[in-house]
């Protein structure tokens, strides 16, 4: 339903060209959830915002293709995109406090949204639907709360309102950009439950963006791992967690403390994410990779299927180097020492 091919997004700044996204390709089907996981600067938010047309501007360069139900999103006019956003693509962002207008009652905002996209609906009908939606996302006493202001809701409740608004027009795709990052863990569990229930009831396709691998493990069907604007690994959920391939994925999984890790030293990824302006020619992760070889800094590995699987993709030279001697590999100790420094 949504197909993205080789999407690249760059921003021109006084300091240079920021290559925020490079060659992102994926597709999402009805009833499935795609999880995009990455740390800050990975390009996960920018890519999705570009797809729905929220990053248009003079200094933005976009290349590639994004087809939504057959139509090309990147070439649409702003007006066309506006009619799609909200109606056929719903969006939920991280901070509901800044997405909801603080001066208008919540019910009014939902009603406005409904009437904006459907001119025939009456105020009474819209209000009824608003109450219905609030109930659907689990807000208790929706008939009473529909007239409350956003600040009268707790963080979790506000996010439910956002989901209600996103689902109001029954979109075929829901994009959730870090929807639970600002919420407590018990509330996060509630919200993820609501999102999952929406998908079950309406068959919506979901793109979920997060930095939390645990959330991915719970809700995603397919996973894309991004780093510094590029896709490092792309696979079905269990494949990613149990048959991971890319050193970045491995490092990420190992650096998450779990209940079992006890008080052993966490294996961390040394160094920090690179500047998106001065990305070199090689693999963006090479500087921090304990498995790197000389080739990694010179040539960027393509995102290709790993041996034995056609759907599991990884952007790494690793399996391609049967002839490299063991001594060519950089020892983890050296990388750790130079990387841990600021």
């Amino acid at each position: 339903m949504l197909e993205v091919n080789r999407l690249s997004v760059s921003f021109g700044t006084p300091d240079g060209l920021v290559r925020a996204v490079r060659d992102l390709s994926f597709s999402v089907e009805r009833g499935r959830t795609l999880g995009i996981v990455g740390e800050s600067g990975s390009g996960k938010s920018v890519s999705v915002q570009t797809i729905v047309g929220l990053t248009r501007g003079a200094s933005v360069q976009v290349s590639g293709e994004a087809l939504f139900e057959g139509s090309s999103l990147l070439t649409m006019t702003s007006a066309q995109l506006r009619s799609i956003r909200g109606a056929r693509i719903g969006m939920v962002f991280q901070d509901p406090l800044s997405s909801l207008h603080p001066f208008y009652r919540v019910g009014w905002q939902v009603v406005e949204l409904l009437r904006e996209h459907d001119k025939t609906i009456s105020k009474r009908e819209a209000r009824g639907r608003a109450i219905e939606l609030l109930g659907l996302v689990g807000i208790p006493e929706p008939a009473r709360r529909v007239d409350d202001y956003p600040h009268q809701f707790s963080g979790g409740m506000r996010q439910r309102v956002m989901i209600a608004m996103a689902m109001a027009l029954n979109p075929s795709l829901l994009i959730a950009d870090e929807p639970t990052t600002a919420l407590d863990v018990t509330v996060q569990a509630q919200i993820l439950g609501v999102i999952r229930r929406m998908q079950k009831e309406f068959g919506t396709a979901i793109i979920l963006i997060t930095h939390d691998l645990g959330v991915i493990a719970e809700v995603a069907d397919e996973v894309i791992v991004m780093y510094a604007g590029s896709v490092m690994e792309q696979a079905e959920r269990r494949e990613l967690f149990y048959a991971h391939h890319h050193p970045y994925t491995v490092g990420l999984l190992k650096s998450v403390p779990t209940f079992e890790s006890g008080r052993r030293r966490l294996s961390s990824i040394p160094g920090q994410p690179p500047s998106l302006i001065s990305l070199g020619a090689g693999c963006p992760f090479a500087a921090r990779c304990t498995q790197r070889v000389a080739r990694c800094r010179i040539e960027r590995p393509p995102l290709a299927p790993i041996p034995g699987s056609s759907m599991h993709l990884s952007a790494c030279w690793l399996d391609d180097l049967p002839d490299e001697a063991e001594s060519d590999r950089v020892s983890p100790a050296i990388v750790a020492k130079e990387g841990d420094r600021g």
């Binding site: 921003f11 021109g12 501007g57 003079a58």
Partner: protein, 328 residues
Amino acid sequence: MLKGPRSAEDAWEEETEQAAAIQGRSPWQLAFARLRHDRAAMIALGVVVAIALVAVLAPVIAALTGHGPDVQYLPPIGTTIDGLPKAPSAHFLFGTDDLGRDVLVRVAYGAQVSLLVGVLATLLAVVIGALVGLAAGYFGRVVDTVLARVIDVMLSIPFLLFAISLASVVSVTPIHIGPIVLQQGLGIVVIVIGTFSWATVARIVRGQVLAIREKEYIEAARSLGAGSWRIIVIDVLPNVLAPIIVYATLLIPLSIVAEASLSYLGVGIPPPTADWGSMISEAQPYYQEAWWFLVFPCLALIITTLAFNVLGDGIRDAFDPRATGTRA
């Protein structure tokens, strides 16, 4: 970035150095760089520097033209036979005034007064205002309540009326405070203008300090055991400096205009000192016959005020860029 046969390690070093080079700029340097790119602000800065030069070099101008600022040239050189000002000519580039004095030279000397009062009054206002604002904002509660009321009172006193009254009083009977004598002149004008400007500065500073007070780095400083005044000077002040500077740059033209107004009304700088405000006042009856007498001091005032205002805008934008769009 990579050049031929150099090893991958070298290439890597170069990349990281390049990335590091993009950083390495202090907030002040960044602001300065932004200011440099603001063409309007740079032009304004040039104008301000030019005006300052004119003020400093006023005696030189007087020497070059051969005319002093207070020298009255008798008819038919200084004025017409009827006693009217003479039009601009090769001899008097800006013409003469009703007493036969060289307008150009007087405008130049007038710049001295304007700039001096502008800067000194602003300095006075900023120093007092910053102190009061810092104390009120940081200590809060009783101190804040008291100081905030004082600020409110100061802001509600009408400037012009009070200034006129005070200046009129001292022009007749100088006030003696110990060794200091307050009489009509530069001193009183600076004090009066400064006294009426500090309240706004204090209010701005207080607002900023209230916001900064809640920041974590202030909490961190307290957790380290830093005393209040140390925190105010070392942690709060640098963050408040930027709005202070911006407002100061905008306060200078306000002070200049205030001084011109006072002199226009006759209660500022006493004659015969060359002063734009008094020149404008004296030129009024002659505006039909001798436009130059009125126009040149007016222009000087307008250009000076405009230049400072544009510069102030530029400085504010440099410190606080709300980017309206990135330049590629």
